[in-house]
């Protein structure tokens, strides 16, 4: 094989698709455990907040708390699982030294990031769908009707943007983390609070002015409200603003992921 006989064309799609297929297959191998836990979680949230306590919570005008909660939970499941997938996959590769195969192969940083991201997004969307279906179950039980998204396009779009952004975050964390504990610490101390404060469970209208200001610098607010707009047709922030901020957030996370792959360590310590 000489230098010229390597068709660059083949080095663009095949390696990328192979890594993507690896990611998807890895997820499918752990499908049961990854779907089961978020399904149970969202079921409990819906039961406690949506149905029991939710009766007394007022959110947006003309919207029941259950309706309000469902899109937030969908987005939370999607983002969390997107993050989990890329971070745990990469960390596993690092500790098994499989990452050396990836690094030594003719895969570019962009190919690696997009394959890992789309693989993670796939898991995020599968979990999001599961959460949405269990939400539908509760909704039907309660209202005797299905919850039909008002703007399905926005619903899906924001799920994709939010999921992708979180896969990139997972990549960043996996490259900078030294142990598995670091990853769960970042998940527990940074991401989860941001998700909760991003308005999964409450509307900005319920907050005091200080917390409203604080929430506005939380990028997750825009992801979550974008999805809420897609499902309910209303949200705390205008959809255009949500869209631009979300896209900007995605871009920032992507660039940080590029930086992490270029500067981060490929060694398992």
């Amino acid at each position: 094989m000489t230098d010229k006989s390597i068709k660059t064309q083949e080095l663009i799609w095949t390696p990328f698709l192979m890594l993507l297929s690896r990611e998807v297959r890895r997820f499918i191998k752990v499908l049961a455990q990854t779907i089961f836990i978020p399904a149970i979680n969202s079921f409990i949230y819906l039961l406690i907040f949506g149905v029991s306590i939710g009766k007394n919570i007022k959110v947006l005008e003309g919207i029941s708390y259950l309706e309000f909660l469902i899109p937030g939970l969908v987005m939370m499941g999607c983002m969390n699982n997107s993050f989990q997938n890329s971070s745990s996959s990469l960390l596993g590769m690092k500790f098994g030294r499989e990452i050396i195969d990836i690094k030594a192969a003719p895969l570019t940083v962009q190919q690696i990031i997009w394959a890992m991201s789309l693989g993670g997004l796939f898991r995020g969307l599968v979990v999001g769908t599961v959460v949405f279906l269990s939400g539908e179950f509760f909704y039907y039980f309660h209202e005797n009707a299905w919850l039909v998204p008002v703007y399905p396009f926005y619903f899906l779009l924001f799920c994709i943007i939010g999921g992708l952004a979180f896969t990139k975050l997972g990549i960043i964390v996996a490259f900078l983390a030294k142990t598995f504990d670091h990853v769960s610490a970042i998940g527990g101390f940074i991401i989860l609070p941001l998700i909760y404060l991003g308005g999964v469970f409450f509307s900005l209208e319920n907050l005091s002015p200080f917390w409203v200001k604080f929430s506005h610098v939380n990028p997750l607010l825009y992801f979550i409200n974008g999805v809420r707009y897609g499902v309910l047709g209303v949200s705390d922030v205008p959809v255009n603003v949500a869209l631009w901020v979300s896209l900007l957030g995605l871009l920032v996370f992507h660039l940080l992921a590029v930086w992490a792959l270029k500067k981060g360590s490929y060694q398992p310590w």
């Binding site: 094989m1 390597i6 192979m18 297959r25 596993g92 030294r97 050396i100």
Partner: protein, 298 residues
């Protein structure tokens, strides 16, 4: 033709200089041995070639392309067997080889995958998960991965560490075949006998610096001597600058490669009918290696 060219490579880890101004070339159809004690810097050199680590200074080219600037083109022609065993949590042998093939742009490569599995005796293990393989099996898999895309340059970092005799022979066989096919091979090992058999040229590296490099045979000739052992019928008291050992009737001499044996014998001036037995042992790479590391007596 030089496939791999390394010039003045320096690699620092913080304050530690692991590789210090190293230069060498590996040509097509040649096995180049990188020899040195633990921590000499062999793996660090290989890691900079595969861009796992960034060089602190110096240049590395493959087919005249800089590895840091032409990553895709240089990686596409390079295969590597890392020193440390690689494990994969979720996949089996065949899946891993399929991924590997795809990473190098090869689709629908079943034939090659199957033939490599057979060649490396992985066939009966093809449905086993990697973490259920023994160490030697993992090593076989790593070799199969490195050969998947028929590389022009093969980097073997201690491929024979911890493998059984049979696999060791089969690795030697493969290395020779690949060499015949024109592959440039960089080989590290702690088994100097193996290096002597396999490597056309070697570099002896110590504390990050190449101490000596050259054709294996040449280095052995330059840095070692032959040992001539003569057993006599009758004991004689004898002294000679080349005599290094005397036990009863047996005398051992060190004869430099520059001296002809015949001439040396006539200098010794033993009576022919007093010589019972005579043996010549050639110098070894191991002796050359020890000499370089210790600058010691041979």
């Amino acid at each position: 033709m030089a496939v791999l060219k390394i010039e003045n490579l320096i690699k620092d880890y913080g304050a530690l200089r692991a590789v210090n101004k190293v230069s060498f070339e590996v040509h097509s159809g040649e096995v180049f041995g990188l020899l040195g004690p633990n921590g000499a810097g062999k793996t660090s050199i290989i890691s900079t070639i595969t861009t796992l680590e960034k060089p602190t200074e110096g240049t590395i080219t493959i087919n005249n392309l800089d590895v840091t600037r032409h990553e895709r083109a240089t990686k596409a022609v390079t295969g590597v067997v890392p020193q440390e065993l690689v494990t994969h949590g979720y996949f089996n042998v065949e899946e891993i080889l399929t991924f590997q093939s795809g990473y190098y742009g090869l689709r629908k490569n079943k034939e090659k995958i199957h033939s490599l599995m057979q060649q490396l005796e992985l066939w009966s293990h093809r449905h086993k998960k990697i973490r259920h393989l023994s160490g030697g099996m993992k090593r076989r898999l790593m070799i199969a991965k490195a050969l998947m895309h028929s590389p022009q340059l093969l980097l073997l970092d201690e491929p024979t560490a911890g493998v059984d005799v049979e696999l060791r022979y089969s690795i030697w066989e493969q290395v020779r075949d690949l060499k015949k096919a024109g592959v440039a091979i960089l080989f590290t090992t702690h088994y100097l006998e193996e290096a002597e058999k396999l490597c056309d040229r070697v570099a002896i590296i110590h504390e990050g610096k190449i101490q000596k490099q050259g054709e294996t045979k040449e280095l052995v000739r330059k840095l070692t001597s032959r040992h001539l052992t003569i057993t006599l019928k009758n004991k004689v008291e004898y002294s000679h600058p080349a005599l290094i050992n005397q036990q009863d009737n047996t005398l051992e001499f060190r004869v430099p490669y520059s001296t002809k044996i015949g001439q040396f014998l006539s200098e010794l001036n033993f009576r022919n009918d007093n010589i019972l037995d005579m043996k010549i042992r050639e110098g070894t790479l191991e002796e050359a290696f020890k000499y370089v590391l210790n600058r010691g007596e041979m």
